[in-house]
């Protein structure tokens, strides 16, 4: 058989190799609401970071804030925050920020 097209995989069978291609979804774009952390109220207990399903709360030394590249906006952080320091704010309110996300 003559192979006319370059194979996309160097492997003979169905292997994936994270060193070659680690996939990542733009889950930040899934969000309809955004967690906004009130730094003053945050007592750095870490529960938001612990329960965050994508584990995307960034530890900013004395408070936590979501990595908006990946945050899906589920709201678990806000619900689990014992001090109510996280508000879920509709993304529409940040529409003018555009590509800044």
């Amino acid at each position: 058989m003559v192979i006319r097209r370059k194979f996309s995989s160097k492997y003979e069978a169905g292997w994936s190799d994270a060193d070659e291609l680690l996939l990542c979804l733009d889950t930040g774009s899934w969000r309809t609401k955004r967690p906004v952390v009130d730094k003053e109220e945050c007592n750095y207990c870490g529960l938001c970071a612990l329960y965050c399903p994508p584990q995307c709360m960034l530890n900013l030394e004395d408070y936590f804030a979501p990595n908006l590249d990946f945050c899906k906006g589920c709201g678990i952080c806000a619900k689990e925050c014992p001090r109510g320091a996280i508000a879920m704010v509709p993304e529409g309110e940040f529409a003018d920020e555009g590509a800044k996300r």
């Binding site: 979804l25 207990c45 612990l50 004395d62 589920c74 619900k79 689990e80």
Partner: protein, 312 residues
């Protein structure tokens, strides 16, 4: 902002490796499954090999063509072949003297239904691997069909609520108890509201797998399939524990131990009211569910109190 306000929970200290998953992976927003996997990779580390199947976790665990969503080695197989494929791996690694943590990661449909035969077989043979079943009480990946762990009364697409039928008529199969009855080195239940409990059980599993088969049953509410808000999964987990709907326990070779006791269990209605799949239940039906919760817990309690009589 001048003083450190609080010390981070101890749980953070258990993380020994980075999250092995890409930042963005295809789990529904608010799904505790994502949390389970990310914590697992942080706690067990990158030497872990994952074995799993078509399921909610598949689009994340098992790559897409030549690409992958994480850095853990994995072996994807059919629902009928998880525990057996893991057996093949651990047996070969044992033959060549390699210490490996093989973790099967499947849903309840695989573990309790179509993949039960090899699961029970591997447990009976006491194979050296960890089997984690995340129990979302049905076939969520294919669109919310009932499985044998779907609870009494729950509405699913194959046990719909209508004039002639009101959800699932039968009770759920108690898979963790069945697995404990294999008298394997370690069986435990866990859920994401009680993370330290889960992590300790993972670490214990990693040690116990040298003795043989380990099974962890993770209660994992499905925001979409159960009809709960995307921010409420952890709350639902917690309420399942507080009502004794899903007690936290472990069993070592059939010796039971409750790892978390609830002083005053809440009525099961406090749990069911959070979940749409139970919304149609009448008072009688809820009473039956409560009765099931009570009797399951009583049974478990007896097991935990049970002492093997000394030989004469």
């Amino acid at each position: 902002m001048t003083q450190k306000k609080k010390k981070l929970p101890r749980v953070f200290e258990y993380f020994r490796d980075e999250d092995q998953f890409a930042g963005g992976v295809a789990f529904c927003a608010g799904c505790p499954l994502e949390l389970t996997l990310r914590i697992l990779s942080k706690v067990l580390g990158r030497e872990t090999i994952i074995v799993g199947t078509p399921s909610c976790s598949a689009p994340v665990l098992y790559g897409q063509n030549i690409g992958t969503w994480h850095r853990l080695p994995y072996y994807s197989c059919l629902m009928t072949g998880v525990a057996s494929s893991a057996t093949g791996l651990v047996r070969y690694y044992r033959k060549i003297g390699k210490d490996v943590t093989v973790v099967c990661f499947t849903g309840d449909g695989c573990a309790a239904d179509v993949g039960f035969q090899p699961l029970s077989g591997a447990a009976e043979r006491n194979e050296n691997f960890i089997y984690i079943c995340y129990d979302n009480e049905g076939y969520m990946n294919t669109g919310v069909q009932r499985s044998s762990t779907t609870p009494f009364g729950a509405s699913t697409t194959t046990t719909p609520v209508g004039v002639a039928r009101r959800g699932k008529e039968m009770s759920a199969k108690n898979l963790p108890l069945i697995m404990a009855m294999h008298r394997v080195p370690y069986v435990a239940t866990a859920t994401m509201s009680h993370l330290e409990d889960f992590i300790k059980k993972l670490l214990k599993a990693k040690e116990k797998k040298y003795e043989g088969f380990v099974y962890i049953h993770v209660f994992s509410p499905c925001p979409v399939g159960w009809g709960i808000e995307s921010d409420s999964a952890i709350q639902v987990c917690r309420m399942a524990v507080r009502t004794n709907y899903f007690p936290l326990w472990e069993a070592e070779r059939g010796r039971f131990h409750l790892t978390h006791t609830v002083a005053t269990p809440r009525p099961v209605t406090e749990y069911t009211k959070l979940i749409r799949k139970f919304r149609h239940l009448s008072e009688e039906e809820l009473a039956r569910l409560q009765e099931e919760v009570n009797s399951n817990f009583a049974f478990l309690h007896h097991l935990a109190e049970f002492e093997t009589p000394k030989a004469c």
